[in-house]
């Protein structure tokens, strides 16, 4: 193991970055699946993640800040991208509310979707475990409120062993729990009314979300990105910064 020489303060940031890179390499070497990453279907979100996308062989937690926050939609778009190359999508529906027509609108072919309907929490955990252990599934999508941290740990190990990708949509309340997943993202919906005050020309269509990277392997969290979902096409893109620019101009004047 080579040792690191002490450096001057200005190169400290560089050192930290190097160490992070090294940690990430060590972490990935542990996994037999290798470094394969999938796009999230949204370039700004890919840039937020350290691997430049979602790395296979792990879980990604999408924490939803309240009901109707849009976290499920983002996870589903990511699942669509993962399934383009890597087999079918498995939806574990523990709440009995999954609505397939919405998945079609998100651009998913229903022929490549398998829905597993479960009632008991134990069955849900078991089905997730089996699906993540299988090498044939492109992505596993599950909206769940009742996963125990121990179960999540087991699921992460299952995904590591097979190179699968698990997309778990969970409530914000689990933020305090230890994170075993590759990445944990917090999705918060942004009210458009606030935007309208500073920029009256804002488009009336679509919705806005803020995605915050709470934690990811090999990087510090805390960064966030504002996204916009197009109402007509469903395309997720970077939210236009018109409002901020206008505000800045005004403050300068």
């Amino acid at each position: 193991m080579e040792s690191f020489e002490p450096r001057s303060t200005d190169s400290r940031g560089q050192l930290v970055a190097e160490l992070r890179q090294r940690l990430r390499q060590l972490d990935q070497a542990r996994r037999p699946a290798g470094e394969v990453s999938n796009s999230t279907g949204c370039e700004p979100l890919d840039r937020l993640l350290p691997a430049g996308g979602l790395s296979r062989g792990g879980l990604v937690e999408w924490l939803a800040a309240g009901a109707g926050s849009g976290a499920g939609w983002l996870a589903l778009v990511a699942a669509r991208e993962a399934c383009r190359e890597h087999g079918p999508l498995l939806v574990i529906d523990g709440r009995g509310t999954f609505y397939p027509p919405a998945a079609v609108l998100a651009g998913i072919e229903l022929e490549r979707v398998l829905v597993v309907r479960v009632e008991q929490a134990a069955d849900e955990a078991w089905a997730l475990d089996q699906a993540l252990r299988s090498t044939s599934v492109g992505a596993v999508f599950c909206q769940s409120q009742r996963l125990h941290p121990r179960v999540v740990r087991r699921l992460q190990l299952a995904a590591e062993s097979s190179g699968g990708l698990g997309l778990l949509v969970r409530p914000e309340a689990v933020r305090q729990e230890p994170c075993w997943a590759e990445a944990r993202l917090l999705v918060r919906s942004l009210p458009t009314s606030a935007m309208k005050l500073v920029s009256p020309c804002l488009t009336e269509k679509g919705r806005r979300l803020r995605v915050e990277l709470l934690r990811a392997r090999g990087t510090a969290g805390g960064r966030s990105v504002d996204l916009e979902i197009d109402d007509e096409t469903g395309v997720v893109r970077l939210a236009t910064e018109l409002a901020t620019a206008a505000a800045e101009r005004r403050s300068r004047a």
Binding site: G70, T97, P101, A103, V116, R117, S136, R207
Partner: protein
């Protein structure tokens, strides 16, 4: 032959959550397995819309202490399960059917015709009891013939030339002159093996060991024909009265003992006997040809890719088998969109593992198609009436999470029929900032209950999205979905 008529079967059949997706014929077939406790040979009435179960009870009466006791026992068991039945026991299938449908009315007791009754016992019954086509019956009625007895007095040669072969065939079938084959629903197993424990045991390792021997044996029996197991049944018998039986279906035919064993073991865990197991039996009820695949020794890039796809699809089949057998066939499903305007009926789930029952598969498919067509026709007309497209064009127009039952809401809006302003759900008050709509969804009058709703997509002050609707009939508001 014993005929059990379940009058108006489409109405009286069970309609629980599990039975909901079955056709009427499939639902009746489900009963057959249960009916095997009365007779080993049970079949459905040969008709496109069967309502009768037919039992071959030849030689079985002494086991039940007489024919009267047998019919009484069968009727009691059916009534205990809340079915309305009419029973008749006769020499032939035709006669039993005739008496069950048109025999003495107003009594709950089964009609039993004495052995060797012939056509004379059927003489007072109407002609409809002969299962003739409506055209033939109408012609006979026009000639003033109403009862079966009137036919037997007519010259036989004349009957054939005037009314065709059908009439004579039905008469002879009822009289027993021409044999009528009962299509037994329960097919004999394609492969079978059983193990008797001596003495009976409750040790799991012994049961597991016996199970693997049995699986090897049934796979061996099928190996010559190059067929794999598609569906099999496992029966366990306890020392005294305990019995357990379950059936295992597979996504793709398999002849791999390890795979089969694993799937059976998953189910065995949930079907334990209260007493030591005396006998274990495996019978394969459906098979399919195995897919042959040759491994390439020097595979190129394309070969490797093809091999990977093959491996992946096998792994997927294994996963589906595991999930379906532990959670139930109805739990692992594929979704299929239906062109229906009403959001909760816009799709349907179909089990990933198809029901592999032989013989009637085509009929079932036809039935299903018919049902589908019914569903398709009505909403199309409905959409035209409502002037809307059933398939929404906007990506965000449907929520990812739809409640099976819409939740009732308290809503405040400025205008009586206008968009909502504030709504309360579960004790929480949500202030609405933006609304889209209304999107009117209306079904035709022919659907009962028909719906007429104005849907709104709403954004709350915090930016959360919900899907609400106002019922046009009474103006009540409901929360139907969440844009999670």
């Amino acid at each position: 032959m014993l005929c059990v008529w379940l009058p108006n079967w489409p109405r009286q059949r069970p309609k629980g959550a599990r039975e909901h997706e079955l056709t009427d014929r499939e639902a009746l077939k489900r009963l057959v397995a249960w009916c095997e406790q009365f007779s080993p040979t049970v079949g459905l009435e040969p008709s496109p819309a069967p309502e009768c179960l037919l039992f071959d009870v030849t030689g079985l009466a002494p086991l039940f202490h007489g024919e009267a006791a047998l019919t009484e026992h069968v009727a009691r068991e059916f009534r205990r399960r809340k079915y309305t039945v009419r029973l008749a026991l006769a020499d032939t299938l035709g006669a039993a059917w005739a008496v069950a449908h048109y025999g003495p009315q107003g009594t709950d007791e089964a009609t039993i015709l004495p052995p060797g009754h012939g056509l004379t016992a059927l003489a007072p019954l109407p002609l409809e009891a002969l299962r003739l086509t409506p055209e033939t019956t109408r012609t006979l009625h026009e000639l003033g013939l109403v009862r079966i007895g009137q036919l037997s007095s007519l010259p036989r040669a004349g009957l054939a030339t005037r009314f065709g072969a059908e009439l004579l065939l039905r008469l002879d079938q009822a009289a027993g002159e021409v044999a009528e084959v009962l299509e037994v629903h329960h097919p004999p197993p394609e492969a079978q093996a059983n193990w008797t424990f001596e003495p009976p045991t409750d040790r799991h390792d012994l049961i597991d060991w016996a199970l693997s021997r049995l699986v090897e044996r049934v796979v061996d029996q099928l190996a010559d024909r190059r067929r794999g197991v598609q569906q099999l049944e496992c029966r366990m018998r306890g020392q005294t009265t305990a019995r357990a039986r379950f059936s295992v279906g597979l996504f793709r035919p398999s002849a791999t003992p390890r795979h089969l064993e694993e799937i059976i073991r998953l189910r065995l865990e949930t079907h334990s006997l209260a007493e030591p197991v005396a006998e274990l039996e495996l019978s394969v009820t459906a098979t399919a040809p195995l897919e042959e695949r040759q491994r390439e020794l020097f595979a190129g890039a394309a070969g490797v890719a093809a091999q990977r796809i093959g491996d992946d699809s096998r792994a997927l089949a294994l996963l589906i088998d595991r999930l379906s057998n532990r959670l139930g066939r109805e739990a692992v499903v594929r979704a299929r969109l239906l062109p229906d305007v009403q959001p909760e009926f816009a799709w349907r789930y179909e089990p990933a593992i198809a029901n592999t029952e032989r013989g009637t598969r085509n009929a079932e498919r036809r039935n299903k198609r018919r049902v589908l067509r019914n569903i398709e026709i009505a909403p199309h007309r409905g959409t035209r009436a409502a002037g809307r497209l059933s398939v929404p064009r906007l990506s965000l127009s449907r929520p990812l999470c739809l409640f099976p039952q819409p939740l009732s809401l308290v809503v405040v809006s400025i205008v009586p029929d206008g968009p909502p302003l504030v709504f309360t759900s579960g004790g929480v008050e949500w202030r609405i900032e933006r609304t889209w709509g209304p999107e009117r969804i209306q079904t035709g009058w022919w659907r009962a209950p028909s719906v007429a709703r104005d849907y709104y997509r709403v954004e709350t002050a915090a930016g959360q999205w919900f899907w609400l609707f106002r019922q046009l009939i009474d103006g009540r508001w409901f929360l139907h979905g969440v844009f999670d």
